[in-house]
Amino acid sequence: MSEITVANLTKAFGPHKAVDGVSFTVSSGEFVVLLGPSGCGKSTTLRLIAGLEPPSAGSISIHGHDVTRLGPSQRQISMVFQSYAVFPHLDVARNITFGLEVRGVSKAERQQRLARVADIVGLTPYLARKPGQLSGGQRQRVALARAIISERPVCLMDEPLSNLDAKLRHEMRVEIRELQQRLGMTMLYVTHDQIEAMTMADRVILMKDGRIEQDGTPADLYERPRTMFAARFVGLPPMNFIPAPDESGTVGIRAEDLKLTSGAGRLSGSVAGIEYLGADTLVSVEWQGLSLIARVAGASLLKRGETVGLSWDDAAEHHFDIREQRRPVARQFEHV
């Protein structure tokens, strides 16, 4: 059963459409990431689903009920904000049980649920502290605990990790995903970070200019990007693009599919830069004014300015039509 169904959702601020006819569903227990660059409408979409903004058009239903016209408190959701939105005047325990308290849950039950949730997120020793005495990561856990304790069917997260340092972000990524699976939460998660999207999501909805660019599994997005935008946005380094030989469009090739050859190969160019990453190395090769990046295993002995050949398998090619910048429908299943 689908927990969240969004149909033709539109939000206009004046003449500008921040969200423009977006439709998707999220199934029960699924972890779906709304991914996109800043200003693509992903956060606005989340706020519309939360009921924090009224939509201009379209409908939203949660858990089988049409909630389009309902206020945020009636939507049976929990939400984790980018700023964490912990109440500075309440201690950790009261912050976590805030929702239960305003909904009139008995004190005994509140204490019981608090003990369990505080244990899950590892906040038990900090329950009497004020948020001002907590680190960023601990505040994040308070916000997380508040979402878990509500036991609501749907949890929305708005860039919850973007204020954390890199190491903590990695830990929390693993932890949130693990919690979501263990507790069977239905999660809709907004991020601009493709690594978060790729590592955590069951399904990624890539947005651009208020519209959905592609909706699929992380592997779909990476291996079968429907548009050049998707191909560029997902994957590091971004996909290489070269004009198709017959000028019918553009051919995209992933860095790891480009092979460096000592001979002529299919193209040849000069080495413009070498980035050593440890396990592999990114070699950028200049060819007809384009910079193509190849990923080679281990360290590379190449030097800047050296001429190298590039080759690839036909099967590794992604074809995009020149005007639409989309994968032509007929060739969609080429690699399946």
């Binding site: 939360a50 009921g51 924090l52 206020g71 945020p72 408190s73 939507r75 959701i77 929990s78 939400m79 904000f81 700023s83 939105a85 109440f87 500075p88 005047h89 309440l90 805030f98 929702g99 305003v102 909904r103 004020k130 001002g132 508040r146 509500s150």
Partner: protein, 291 residues
């Protein structure tokens, strides 16, 4: 050597403020305290020590008790009502409503006006013959009583004017504080299921507590300090109905020239305000969350 210089430096920096405070606040208080134990100098009898006579006279002075009672009623009405109104107005003009800038300006205008000018405006409102209130009442066939001229209504008129003047001023502090509350907090509370009233009570009001404490202290001080409008509206009358402590001190000191008694009255007012300030800081401060 270095440490000593730093200490000296610090004292020098503090010196100008300390000189002013001592000269115009602490020294006058000590002199007033001294004067309150002395008799008022007369032509052929210079001032001499009378002990607690001035205070004893005060205890037996019905006008003092009347002024004190009036002042407590005045404070008891103006403080909570002006603070509540200020908060209400701030919440109104902080929301998304049409004509917001106009409303903000309207609420704040009384603050800009001098108290004497405000009193003059209200003098016209309260006038029983051609006043604004009288004219409004005439529309429905009633006539206004002489608000300022009768004992039962005069004090309340003075209170209304003070509230009208002060609420807009306090609103500015509340408005500024409201705008520092992150909208995320209110949104998070709404998602958690809190209604508007619960959000106000559990999130907004606690976060406004530092402002409330500040406003409260100011309101208490003003309730014992502002008498400008009493000069214009009633002159303390009729029959001391609008007489308050500071006004009584003025009358005793500068109309009756009884300086010893005026000094004693001043000490009582000072002690009262000091006690109120201590109470506020020690009891309320603990309940206030400062961000």
């Amino acid at each position: 050597m270095h440490g000593r210089f730093t200490t000296l430096h610090a004292w020098l920096l503090a010196l100008p403020a300390m000189v002013l405070l001592v000269l115009f606040t602490h020294y006058p208080i000590v002199v007033t305290l001294f004067d309150s134990f002395m008799s008022t100098p007369k032509k052929h009898r210079p001032s001499h020590f009378v002990g607690l006579d001035n205070y004893a006279a005060m205890a037996g002075d019905p006008v003092f008790w009347k002024a004190l009672t009036n002042n407590l009623i005045y404070a008891g009405a103006t403080i909570p009502i002006s603070i509540a109104l200020a908060l209400l107005m701030a919440l109104i003009v902080n929301g998304r409503i049409p004509g917001r800038p106009l409303m903000r300006m309207a609420f704040f205008t009384p603050t800009v006006l001098p108290m004497v000018a405000v009193a003059n405006i209200w003098l016209f409102f309260f006038n029983p013959n051609y006043g604004a209130i009288d004219q409004l009442l005439q529309l429905v066939g009633l006539t206004a009583p002489n608000f300022l001229g009768q004992q039962q209504t005069a004090l309340w008129c003075v209170i209304v004017v003070a509230i009208w003047k002060e609420a807009g001023f306090f609103m500015i502090f509340y408005l500024a504080a409201l705008q520092t509350i992150p909208p995320d907090l209110v949104e998070a509370a709404a998602i958690e299921g809190a209604g508007r009233w619960q959000i106000l009570r559990r999130v907004v009001l606690p976060l406004l507590m530092p402002t409330t404490l500040f406003v409260l202290i100011n309101a208490v001080i003003n309730a014992f300090r502002t008498v400008d409008h009493i000069f214009v509206l009633t002159g303390g009358g009729p029959d001391n109905a609008t007489n308050v402590l500071l006004y009584q001190i003025y009358l005793v000191g500068f109309s009756f020239w009884d300086q010893g008694y005026a000094a004693a009255l001043t000490m009582v007012l000072l002690a009262g305000l000091g006690a109120a300030a201590l109470l506020q800081f020690f009891f309320l401060d603990r309940r206030v969350h400062y961000r």
